[in-house]
C-alpha cells in the first residue's frame, strides 16, 4: 500500500481510536478513584444518545445546546448512580461491583429497547459538508470534530486531575483511600464528581461515534470492548495510558482491517490477551508486585 493510503488509514484510525480513548478515559477515571470497573459505561452513553436523538429530531434543539445537554445528562446519571447505587456497596468485592455495573448496563439496554424499540435509526452527523482535503489527506468534517473534541477533553481532564484541588484529591484517593480520608478529603463528594465526569464522557463519546454506526440499543457493545482493550493496553492505572491505548488500537485495527478485513475485531482482542500475559502493567501502568 502506498504512503498516502497509509496516512489516510492512520488518520481515520485515529478518529476511531479517539472515541475508544474517550470511553476508556471515563472507565479508567472511575476505576482509579472509586475502584469500580464500570461495565455500564458504553450503555450509559447509548441511553444518553437516544435522548439526544429525540432532542434533535423531535424537539429540533440546536446541536451546540444538545452537546451541552448530553454532557449534563451524563453528569446527572453519574451522580445518581454513585449516590443511590454504588455508595451502599462500596466495600463489596470486585466481583460484586462488576456485577452491579453489568446489571446497570442491562437496565439501560432494556429501557432503551422498551421505550424506543430496537430498530436501527440513522443519527444525523454533528457537522455536514464535504470532506476536507489537506495535501494527500482526506478527512470528513465529523472526524475532525471527533479528533478535536478528544484533544479538548484530554486537556480538560489533565487540567482537572493535575491543576485542581478536586483532581488532586481524586488522585490521592486512588493511591490510598484511607490516608485520603484521614487527611480530610471528602471522599463521597469526590466519588460523585468522578462518576459525573466519567458518565459525561460516556455520553460525549457515544454522541460523537454514533453517526458512523446506527443508533440501536446494542451499538456501544463492541466499542466498549475496544475501550476495555485500550485501557488494558495503556495500563489500567493511567488516564493518559487509556488515551494512548485507544489511539493505538484504533490505528492498528484500521490498518489490519485494510489488509485482512476478516480478522479486524479478533486481532486486537488477541493482542490484548498477549499484552495482559506478557506485560500485565500495560504500556504506561506502574509496575506492581504480584499480590495475593
Amino acid at each position: 500500500m502506498n504512503s498516502s493510503i497509509l496516512l489516510n488509514l492512520t488518520l481515520r484510525g485515529l478518529t476511531t481510536g479517539a472515541v475508544y480513548a474517550l470511553v476508556g478515559m471515563g472507565i479508567v477515571l472511575i476505576l482509579q478513584t472509586t475502584n469500580v470497573m464500570n461495565f455500564a459505561q458504553g450503555d450509559t452513553g447509548m441511553f444518553i444518545t437516544y435522548l439526544a436523538f429525540f432532542m434533535i429530531t423531535t424537539a429540533k434543539v440546536p446541536y451546540s445546546l444538545v452537546l451541552i445537554l448530553v454532557i449534563a445528562a451524563g453528569a446527572v446519571i453519574g451522580l445518581l448512580v454513585e449516590r443511590f447505587l454504588m455508595r451502599s456497596v462500596r466495600s463489596r468485592s470486585h466481583l460484586s461491583l462488576i456485577m452491579l455495573t453489568l446489571g446497570l448496563s442491562l437496565v439501560f439496554q432494556g429501557l432503551a429497547a422498551f421505550l424506543f424499540n430496537t430498530e436501527p435509526r440513522l443519527f444525523p452527523p454533528l457537522v455536514t459538508g464535504d470532506p476536507v482535503q489537506v495535501g494527500p489527506v482526506v478527512l470528513s468534517r465529523q472526524d475532525i470534530v471527533v479528533l478535536l473534541a478528544t484533544l479538548v477533553v484530554f486537556g480538560i481532564l489533565y487540567l482537572f486531575l493535575y491543576r485542581t484541588k478536586q483532581g488532586t484529591a481524586a488522585r490521592s484517593i486512588s493511591q490510598d483511600e484511607y490516608a485520603a480520608r484521614v487527611l480530610g478529603i471528602p471522599t463521597p463528594s469526590i466519588y460523585m464528581l468522578v462518576w459525573a465526569i466519567g458518565s459525561a464522557l460516556a455520553g460525549l463519546a457515544a454522541l460523537l461515534i454514533v453517526p458512523r454506526f446506527s443508533l440501536e440499543p446494542s451499538f456501544m457493545g463492541l466499542i466498549q470492548v475496544k475501550a476495555f482493550s485500550a485501557i488494558v493496553l495503556g495500563g489500567m492505572d493511567s488516564v493518559f495510558g487509556a488515551a494512548v491505548g485507544g489511539l493505538i488500537i484504533g490505528v492498528v485495527e484500521n490498518l489490519v482491517a485494510y489488509q485482512f478485513p476478516a480478522i479486524k475485531d479478533s486481532f486486537m482482542l488477541i493482542v490484548v490477551v498477549i499484552v495482559l500475559l506478557v506485560l500485565p502493567q500495560g504500556l504506561f501502568g506502574k509496575r506492581q508486585q504480584r499480590r495475593f
Binding site: 462488576i98 430496537t118 476478516a262 500475559l277 500485565p280
Partner: protein, 316 residues
C-alpha cells in the same frame, strides 16, 4: 407432627414428582416443555460458570464460547464426519475442556478486572473466529443439525428430551456437588478464599485453578452439544458477549455459590420474557438488570436465598 427428616423427604418427593409430571401437565402446550428444555440447558452451562465464579472465585465473561465450542464440535462431527452422536457429544465436551485449559492459563497470572477483560476478549474472538470458518457454516450458521439420538432411540419430541435432560441435569449437578464436597472441591474453595493461605497449606493453586476452568468448560461444552441437537441450528452471534453476560446474569440471579442457583436463575431468565410476553418483552431485560443489582445489594445468594428462607420458615 412430622419429624424434620420426614418433612424434608416429603418435600423432596413432591418436588421430584412435580418435575416428572410437568410434561403431562403441559401436554397440550408442547412449547412450554421446549422452553423448559432450553432452561435446563442454560442451567447446565450456568452450573459450570457457577463452579468457576461461585466456588472458584474466577470471573469469566466468555463462558458462552465454551458452549459454542462444544456445540460446534459435536454438530460438525456428526454432520460432516458422520460420527456416532454419543461419541460426538463426548468429543464436544472434550473439545470445550481443552479450550478451557487454554483460556484457563491467563487465570494463573490475572485476577479480578484483568481476568474479566481477558476472558471477555477470548470469548468474543472465539465467536468471531467461528464466524470466519467455512466448516462451521460461517455467518450463515449451521442449520439442519440432526435431532438427539441415543443408541436406537431418537429423542424427537420435546417431552422425551425433557426426561433425558432431567436425568443429565441431575447427574451433572450430583457430580458437581460431590466434587465440591471432595478434597479437590475444598481445595478449590480454599483457593477462592485466599490464594496465599491455600498455597501455604500445600494446595497447588495453579493446578486447581486449571482444574476448575476445565471442569466448568466441560459442563458448558456438554450443554452446548445438547443445545445443538435440540435447537438444530447454531449461529456464532448467539454465543457472543451478550450471551456470556446472560449466563453470568443467570448465575448471579440464581445465586452464586449455591448448587440449585443455576436452575432457578435459568428458569427465571427463560420464563420471565414468556410470562410478561408481547410488547413488554424488552422490559424483561430491565427486570434482569434490576434483579442482578437487587441480588448484589440485598440477596447475595440470589433466588436460592429466597428458597432457603422459605424452607426455614416452613421448617423443612
Amino acid at each position: 407432627m412430622f419429624s424434620p427428616e420426614k418433612k424434608r423427604l416429603t418435600a423432596n418427593a413432591v418436588l421430584v414428582l412435580l418435575v416428572l409430571v410437568m410434561p403431562l401437565v403441559f401436554w397440550t402446550k408442547p412449547s412450554v416443555i421446549g422452553y423448559l428444555n432450553i432452561a435446563m440447558l442454560y442451567a447446565l452451562a450456568t452450573q459450570g460458570l457457577n463452579l468457576l465464579m461461585g466456588y472458584g472465585g474466577l470471573v469469566s465473561l466468555g463462558h458462552a464460547a465454551f458452549m459454542a465450542i462444544g456445540g460446534y464440535t459435536a454438530a460438525v462431527l456428526v454432520m460432516t464426519y458422520h460420527v456416532n452422536m454419543f461419541l460426538a457429544i463426548l468429543a464436544g465436551v472434550a473439545g470445550a475442556g481443552v479450550f478451557g485449559l487454554v483460556i484457563g492459563f491467563p487465570s494463573l497470572r490475572l485476577s479480578g478486572f484483568y481476568l474479566a477483560v481477558a476472558t471477555m476478549a477470548l470469548g468474543s474472538s472465539t465467536a468471531d473466529v467461528i464466524k470466519r470458518l467455512s466448516i462451521t457454516g460461517g455467518d450463515y450458521g449451521l442449520a439442519n443439525i440432526p435431532s438427539l439420538r441415543l443408541g436406537p432411540w431418537t429423542l424427537a419430541s420435546d417431552a422425551s428430551r425433557y426426561y433425558f435432560f432431567v436425568v443429565v441435569l441431575a447427574l451433572v449437578f450430583l457430580g458437581v456437588r460431590n466434587f465440591l464436597n471432595s478434597r479437590s472441591g475444598r481445595a478449590v474453595r480454599a483457593v477462592r478464599d485466599s490464594e496465599m493461605t491455600a498455597a501455604a497449606i500445600g494446595i497447588n493453586v495453579a493446578a486447581y485453578k486449571l482444574i476448575t476452568f476445565v471442569f466448568a468448560a466441560c459442563i458448558a461444552g456438554l450443554s452446548g452439544a445438547l443445545y445443538a441437537f435440540t435447537i438444530s441450528y447454531l449461529h456464532p452471534s448467539n454465543f457472543g458477549l451478550t450471551f456470556s453476560i446472560g449466563l453470568l446474569s443467570m448465575s448471579i440471579i440464581g445465586g452464586l455459590g449455591t448448587i440449585i442457583g443455576p436452575i432457578l436463575g435459568a428458569l427465571f431468565w427463560v420464563m420471565l420474557p414468556l410470562i410478561i410476553g408481547g410488547k413488554l418483552t424488552y422490559l424483561a431485560t430491565v427486570i434482569f438488570g434490576l434483579s442482578i443489582m437487587g441480588s448484589v445489594v440485598f440477596l447475595p445468594k440470589g433466588l436460592s436465598e429466597l428458597v432457603t428462607r422459605v424452607q426455614s420458615r416452613l421448617k423443612l
